[in-house]
Subunit: 365 residues, 4 copies
């Protein structure tokens, strides 16, 4: 039987994530070397599909990109071809469904299937093309590690590494100065980075979205350490941590606000509260974008290579509309949209939460 | 019911491994904080048990050790209480079984169970005490990741990280100079470090003990790269890689040899052969002990914390003579001696071997 | 002649700085090993002198601290014995001069000279004791590298290393997303960290306190890059950068403010302005305390060792009230108060500024 | 006056060194942006000049290379156009002076001056062209930091960083095991890397070529530490360290030898001697090429940028045949051949040697 697949397209959507280039490289090399397919790179996510910025990817194009952060294909954060802005300069923007234009470009390049690397939003866009008959294989991407259906995502290990390194550095500052030090890490909906980096760094207090925090218990924990002669407390806090009976504090830009620099994530809010209630000097560091840039740690390079390879293998096995995932220690695949809108939060009885509590970590409760 | 456990002893045996202190800390803190046990640290592995160098471990003793390499308890490489050398200075050493002496010391300190952190040899020693009625919980330790019964061991991720960082650095030297560069990494019997670091660094050739190498195929791969205009080849080689129909080359010291510095592991042997057969300049770096020292990467700190915690939880659940292991993503336990003498080699059809081949990696065959 | 020196005291004051422990170690080992002096560690800066928290430092106390961040002696930020708060809980605090108490403690421990490691504030306190007849040798400390009289201070190289590593990571995020990325680094009065880390990371725009910025020129530079097809701009900004005809934006906590989390340093202000004026998405990372914690880079370990050693050598040479400094490549000493209140700002014609401009860096003008 | 310079050529010769690309970038950008010159890159050192592999360097060619190890121009180790091998395959190679051919290529491309980045050998080749009337500006390159006439060379700080990181890791292995651990670092003729990395890592014994070692004193130092209860000794040894009354042990390949893998540098020789004489287990790590590959540390990136910039500034100032150097903290220039054949060894009374001795370091004497 002739293999019906001859040409594949590949794109990356959504936010940055260490390992994207490793996926692109593995997809391209496996397709070229192993299966003699042609590979077309689509620039800037679905935006490049709309604008027909599509070009062949050769072996040379993916040489030496394994260790690079970012994505050589570029990405776009919020391009949805079903709602494409047609008059940008207008005060009242108009949107148009440009899916047809994308399908033409796919047809023009004779692309038989798309490998789509991205998060929730990107997979939703992909689903639209699936409905139009385009075979899409998804490779999930989130440094937050919070995708339902896969036990781990690439990028997470790198974020954990960077957060832990920062916490290690903060540790000595705290110890010299009798201070509480807060490090705010990524994780809007799930606390995987904070949990892992907190345990890895020996943080005293870990706050995650899954366990709403009682500020009085936190302050009491800080004071208790002080009473026991400890000179400092380290707090590792997810950006999405929220108080009991309260809501998330979001650090955002609002250029239309009369006070456009009114800022301050949950870390700064808690710092102020600890200072007020305990009198102990408290400082906050917000790690921000350093967590999602730069060279991936080896774990992520390997995982991304496995995921990229598996995407092509799934295609060659005749599979359609699947999402590559890791279950246990096995790379496998699931329905492309199985995970849509579902977040893998940390269960309250997660063994690592229990282990952390037992070695003395205070959570929000 | 009264908990029969009140005092536990803990020791570390065998070679160095990043994460040992994280296990010691997790065992001690869980025992002290969660279960109000007393913990006794035994110095230098079973040697300290023979010599009664045993002292209480407090919370302060294990503060700030999470990030430290090595083991604060010390270790001894080859102490077997059933064969303890009694006359060291003698040309003809005599051995004696000093198990009774150890049992006295255990009894003297009223130690109810031992947590034994170590490799194969350490577990064999522990088995001897099990037969004498001492409950031992084992925590497996090998940076080589080659223990049967567990999908991963702590220390491996750190070794992989260090090996990959070295390969990343070597890469640019090779590219500037039209050279083949060899990095010899740890792994006498199994090639996990070479496989992972090789894939993570984009090595061109990976040689592991599980796939005997044909030197002609390696040289051909190096030449083929040269013909395709690639200026360099990177080889990542397990110290235990062996030629087809040949045996391992061991880099060892033999002070009784007339030529006591005759040295050279497999990396240097292969370098000479590549230079001879291809005329391409080839250099070797042997990473050695840097792979097993220094601060553990976050992944190993978390895993070691989980293993240490699980050891105490197993004890408190009334379990006896178990080995803590990771199966899939779950920490569990198995028979203490289940893994004795069994090595977890890389299966030839391992998915990562297949993925590596498909992205263009040359193995020994 | 009998050496009149037999006992020295040592203290660290002011903010954290990588290399403090290396100084303490070098002072202590040189004093103990080379000159058979006794060394007394004073806890928490001058606060420990007021409170008589003073204890002998042995060789063991300073073993293994060379690579540690922070200070094993502890520090206090604002303890001035001439203005010591006597009633802390009071709404209207009272201050008292407790210099006499300090002199008693010095006398009680028979301390012949003090080695004082700190910044401007610490040296001013030391000057008070000099006037009372206590010989003080100062070792300057500032990660900002802005002390008049010395060409370099320890801690700076580590801050530069951390800032550069963050900029390296940010680079890839910017490139993938068509963004301007701002990294705000330390340097309230002088821009050494921003200048060096900016050049080291290939930043496109570097803003330092010495060159007030014209926001229109910055925006034009960002737009010009965009017009030339560059997908991103990296801005490395000193926290003390200020606009032309404007003043510094200080990111501070004011718990009495009705809006206690109203925050935002200069980086966030500029980000908002760039977004407004260019429409290009702009994100800010504020590095904060990670720059002053953790293990020092080798350069700082060596420099701190030289400074600590030189402090004892100055004492043994009979010198009084000197500050250890580096001039060119030579460690020497100057008057203890020579640098008081003087900041070493970057001259506008500094060769590195010129080199940076010539390779295409845009400064504030 | 019309600037007589319009086109410059640039090449890199000799071994790898972190910072080469930063020099290439600074030369190119300063020439293009600041002075509107054209720049031609010559591939693989003087070999590319012989073979006319010369092409324009654009701004794009040097984008994103600042942080890369190696050299994008390539290098050749031993190409001397006055002795160019004409019949490679021959058992009895013939050499020919191909300088004329090089001059033709320079003339053909209308190159007005060469920027030559390299070590001693490269500058000697350059001198030949100077005699033929070609203006050459040299940028010195050696990770060993041993060039007469400059206080520091780029690459050294990176080598020191890598060596120190390895020593830090080795430290914990030694401490856990009652071992002596040797790390052999680069430095055939001068011990700068060993001295700095040894001091930075707190090594106990530092052996450098400048101070021949007495093996008995070393063994005594190891034993003395053992007697004082220290569980380990760390030795940092230059590859060029030599015994009193003995000669350097060179670890080399000799494929014609009957025993082609007979290897072992000075580190392994000393290890064997320590084991023999003290009975203390001793292990050696030879760092090798990892010291000269990979991304430069920030210090080297800045220094290389300054050197590259200064090379163009020297040319534009009408200077001829100069070598860019650092004197004190000032970048300046000296005669191109001033340093030829002269090595900057560590003076026996160097302040850092004295400081090291005073904090307890044992040197070879």
């Amino acid at each position: 039987m002739v293999n019906p697949l001859q040409r594949i397209g590949i794109l990356t959507g959504g936010g940055d994530c260490p390992g994207l280039n490793a996926v692109i490289r593995a997809v391209t090399k496996t397709a070229l070397y192993r299966h003699k397919l042609e590979v077309f790179g689509i620039e800037d996510g679905f935006l490049g599909l709309v604008q027909n910025r599509i070009a062949p990817l050769t072996s040379d194009n993916v040489s030496n990109i394994l260790t690079l952060g970012g994505t050589v294909l570029g990405t776009s954060n919020k391009c949805d071809p079903t709602r494409y802005p047609i008059e940008n300069g207008d005060a009242d923007p108009q949107f148009k469904n440009v899916t047809d234009r994308c399908l033409e470009h796919i047809k023009h390049h004779q692309i038989d299937a798309l490998v789509v690397i991205g998060g929730d939003g990107t997979m939703s866009c992909a689903a639209n093309f699936v409905r139009m008959g385009v075979n899409c294989i998804g490779v999930p991407k989130t440094i937050d590690n919070d995708l339902e259906g896969t036990d781990v995502t690439f990028g997470f290990a790198t974020a954990r590494f960077i957060a832990t390194a920062a916490l290690d550095r903060i540790h000595t500052t705290a110890a010299s100065h009798h201070r509480a030090m807060i490090v705010e890490v990524m994780g809007r909906n799930a606390g995987w980075i904070a949990l892992h980096a907190g345990v890895a760094s020996g943080s005293d207090i870990i706050l995650i979205p899954e366990i709403p925090y009682d500020i009085d218990k936190i302050c009491e924990a800080v004071l208790a350490r002080s009473r026991h002669g400890k000179r400092f407390s380290i707090l590792c806090i997810s950006e999405g941590a929220a108080p009991l009976n309260g809501k998330q504090v979001v650090d955002h830009y609002d250029p239309t606000s009369p006070d456009p620099i009114r800022l301050g994530g949950v870390g700064k809010v808690i710092a102020t509260q600890i200072e007020d209630k305990t009198g102990i000097e408290t400082r906050t560091t917000v790690l921000g974008h350093v967590q999602r840039g730069g060279t991936p740690v080896p774990e992520d390079r390997v995982l991304a290579t496995e995921f990229g390879h598996a995407a092509i293998e799934a295609l060659m096995a005749g599979k359609k509309n699947r999402l590559i995932v890791m279950q246990g220690r096995t790379v496998t695949d699931t329905d492309l949209l199985a995970a849509e809108g579902k977040q893998r939060k940390i269960p309250l009885d997660h063994p690592l939460v229990k282990a952390a509590r037992d070695v003395g970590v205070q959570f929000g409760d």
